[in-house]
Subunit: 143 residues, 2 copies
DNA sequence: TATTGTTATACTCTATAACTATA
DNA sequence: TATAGTTATAGAGTATAACAATA
């Protein structure tokens, strides 16, 4: 009876899965894993951030994050600098190659997305965005 | 410029991530991995299905699926029978313990969900469902 | 004392490709 | 010839807990 919302969650999961199905191939073609692309996409269009913030945004735990960042660093896609204000902390950002990859892969994934959304009208967007923003706000408000 | 839809995708991803953050703990408390819970949830409330169908629904590739199902079988949560119509194929279904776990974990996750959605009105649901169903349909229609 | 990130452990997932058995 | 699932391989992600350095 208290499961009115299950239909929404199921739809949400199916949409995400559908989108991942479409984008996954391009990600793998660039030699990136899902976790690695998650980091690249999270760092893209930002000045960079700490492990802590990256972990919170991607849901990758700190122990795992060390390894993922290490592999991205070896590939020359991210760089680390010590935080100027907290000597325990690092600041991770995309390198120029990382930016380039982001600028290359993301549009490829999203060009695909563009096709998918070709028939979306402005009104469709507004309805979807409003509904999702509302959902996000109640989820975020949950402890 | 052709990136009007990026906001929707970002919202979609943030909603999924928020929900996973809320449900993840309960899943792990039951000793299940993400992939394993994915299978249990996919088999729940169905008569069962083949590896092929499970793989299509969960995006887990066939080689991986063999191992995931094997571990669930060892835990006594799923059972396999040969398909009566195709001797190459299996029919995987939840065992009574699997059903029990599904009936136990899912509400625990979703009770959490219930709290989150407590303030959702019927109209909120309808708008979200309609928007997501539309999105799903255009994604599914994409090759 | 609490927090940021590292290391160690043990296991699971992952993609990929070659393979077996059946269709 | 094509398809359902298995096996083999090599690597990556995962949670967890104990640890270091710094706050």
């Amino acid at each position: 009876m208290g499961e009115r919302y299950l239909k929404s969650i199921r739809l949400l999961a199916e949409c995400m899965q559908g989108f991942e199905r479409l984008s996954g191939r391009h990600v793998r073609e660039q030699g990136l894993t899902h976790a690695q692309f998650d980091i690249i996409a999270t760092l893209g269009n930002t000045p960079g951030m700490s492990y802590k913030e990256l972990g919170e945004r991607t849901l990758i735990t700190k122990g795992t994050l060390t390894g993922v960042i290490e592999r991205l660093e070896q590939k020359g896609l991210v760089a680390r600098e010590r935080s100027p204000v907290d000597a325990r902390s690092w600041f991770i950002r995309l390198t120029p190659q990382g930016e380039q990859l982001f600028a290359d892969v993301f549009p490829r994934v999203t060009a695909r997305g563009g096709e998918v959304f070709a028939q979306f009208t402005e009104s469709d967007y507004e309805q979807l965005e409003q509904a999702l923003a509302h959902l996000k706000s109640v989820i975020a408000a949950s402890p």
